[in-house]
């Protein structure tokens, strides 16, 4: 007996195809609409408050009026501390992972695992740790230094992973070429590998800066709430994300200032992100030229 064709009727298939197409389009349109809504609120409620004096004056009346100058300074300093600590440490670890230890070997897996675990830890837990270790155990108190160091722990895995993959993208031809010329490992690293991977390293750095700047939960209990202009690293300082949180939750009538601060933060993040993309493009162009 010949095989019977068991395919469902064509009408069913047609309906299925149409439904899938409609689902994909409508889901996408909904996401686009929500994004437009979010963007409209940000611009509509935030843009009106933003002018030069908003960026350059201190907050008044718990932030309802006045500006965000000390908050921008605190944010900047916290991020600088975080990157200044995490970047060298991260680069060195990445070099070890990409250039020294055996791929897939025990050392690589061990370090890799602990980095992946570190990357997965929720930011509020970093906040707990930062509070217990930096603020209390090391006696730094609620300070910009404690906040920056906590953020450094948080962005370290990102910096290491991006730098590692950047270094791995450097073609082996150059490593062999350097070895064949009898160059030392240090010379190969400084003269060839790091310059060749520089755009990727910088792009990773931008990613880390962006992550640090957007962080709130890890900072509330480490760098604190004080919205005065910080005078030293040991002063408490309020980061911009903490400012947004405080205005929207604890200050009645602070929504407009919160939206304005949010807009500033997002514009900063987009600038940093564009820099990262631009650097990645440079990398791509270079690679194409090489081939």
């Amino acid at each position: 007996m010949p095989d019977v064709c068991v395919a469902p009727p064509a009408a069913y298939l047609h309906v299925r195809d149409t439904l899938l197409r409609a689902a994909v389009w409508s889901a996408t349109l909904l996401v686009g609409a929500v994004f437009a809504w979010l963007l409209a609120d940000l611009l509509g409620q935030g843009a009106a408050r933003i002018d030069w004096s908003f960026l350059t004056s201190a907050p008044r009346n718990a932030g309802r009026s006045g500006g965000i100058a000390p908050i921008l300074v605190s944010t900047l300093v916290v991020v600088v501390v975080a990157i200044a600590v995490a970047a060298p440490l991260g680069l060195a670890t990445a070099v070890l992972l990409a250039e020294v230890v055996r791929r897939g070997g025990r050392t690589e897996r061990l370090i890799g695992l602990s980095l992946d675990v570190l990357a997965g830890i929720p930011s509020i837990v970093f906040g707990l740790f930062g509070n217990a270790f930096f603020c209390i155990w090391l006696g730094l108190g609620f300070s910009i230094l404690a906040g920056g160091l906590t953020l450094a722990c948080m962005v370290l895995p990102i910096l290491i992973r991006t730098a590692e993959s950047g270094l791995r993208m450097v073609p082996n031809d150059w490593r062999f070429g350097a070895a064949a010329l009898g160059l030392s490992r240090a010379a190969t690293l400084w003269q060839i590998l790091i310059p060749a991977a520089a755009p990727a390293l910088l792009a990773g750095l931008m990613l880390g800066i962006g992550r640090a700047m957007a962080e709130t939960a890890a900072l509330v209990f480490t760098s604190g709430y004080v919205d005065r202009m910080p005078s030293s690293l040991w002063d408490s300082g309020r980061a911009i994300s903490v400012h947004i949180y405080d205005l929207s939750m604890n200050v009645a009538g602070g929504d407009q200032s919160a939206y304005a601060s949010a807009l500033v933060l997002i514009v900063l993040l987009i600038m940093i992100n564009s820099a990262a993309i631009w650097l990645a493009d440079i990398l791509l162009v270079r690679r194409i030229k090489m081939i």
């Binding site: 298939l13 670890t93 830890i121 837990v125 270790f133 997002i266």
Partner: protein, 284 residues
């Protein structure tokens, strides 16, 4: 020889950095454990799950309502974010006209980069009033889930997108040669081949949702209770830490570290599950 010395020095400083970087995890676990120990040793681990409510100043540390709230908001957020994320990736790859797809990808990337505190602010001023209009008090489980889903949807979308990009073009050629429609190819060939990555991306998104503090703190109401409806206000583990850390002392403070440890453990299990599932995960 001096050059050898230079290499040796380099190797030593690299190793020292790596030890420091990977030792950090140990340090964190050590401190969390040490800070948790007073509460754990005094009231015992079972008191955190089968106690008599959350009255930390009176020595009652039942985390169950917070645990339920965390799981409920995250799971609901997943249920929304995964279909939307996968649809977004399919749209971007296979449906959108070129320029449109680029713009859409750009939107997803922007959403992925939006700080959670900004999403929380938007949710509090826009979504919460809408839900209040449906059923008071507005700040609720459903509000938390919706904003969380907006936060994690890009993770699913970008992971799926990367998985779709990695599929060989020959799938399409083969399917086309058999006369399959675009939808038939997606359902029968594309999605099954990308399944592992989509799963891994979803687990990663779930872990992010569980670990998120600001969104749930701002829009879900922060009342300690096991929710009975979508419109009940709830307090998650993360929000609980953020709310009480400011004034907690003694065993109370210690119990917050216990919940932090539990949270980290939960998220780690998920992260390892995502890794084990073998999919290709994008860090968005």
């Amino acid at each position: 020889m001096s050059r050898l010395d230079r290499d040796t020095r380099l190797l030593w400083s690299l190793s020292a950095s790596a030890v420091l970087a990977s030792g950090l995890l140990l340090l964190i676990v050590l401190f969390l454990a040490a800070e948790s120990w007073p509460a754990l040793s005094r009231v015992g681990i079972q008191a955190f799950f089968f106690g008599k409510g959350w009255h930390p100043t009176e020595g009652a540390f039942d985390l169950t309502p917070m645990l339920v709230a965390s799981l409920a908001t995250s799971t609901l957020a997943m249920a929304v974010a995964v279909p939307f994320g996968v649809a977004s990736a399919l749209f971007q790859r296979f449906y959108a006209p070129v320029l449109f797809g680029q713009i859409y990808l750009w939107i997803i990337v922007l959403l992925a980069g939006t700080p959670s505190v900004v999403l929380g602010l938007w949710g509090l001023t826009t979504i919460v009033p809408l839900i209040l209009w449906l059923a008071p008090p507005g700040t609720s489980l459903i509000a938390g889930s919706l904003i969380l889903s907006l936060m994690i949807m890009p993770t699913v979308a970008l992971t799926t997108d990367a998985a779709l990009a990695a599929l060989p073009q020959s799938h399409w050629a083969g399917a086309a040669a058999l006369g399959l429609s675009r939808e038939a190819t997606i359902i029968n060939v594309i999605l099954p081949s990308a399944r592992a990555s989509i799963f891994a991306g979803s687990i990663l998104a779930l872990a992010r949702a569980l670990g998120e503090t600001m969104v749930v703190l701002m829009v879900s109401g922060n009342v300690v209770q096991v929710p009975t409806s979508l419109f009940d206000p709830v307090r998650t583990l993360t929000a609980n830490i953020a709310l009480e850390m400011a004034y907690a002392t003694g065993d109370h403070r210690s119990s917050l570290f216990v919940s932090g440890l539990a949270l980290a453990g939960l998220v780690l299990i998920l992260a390892i599950a995502a890794r084990r599932s073998g999919g290709h995960v994008v860090h968005a």
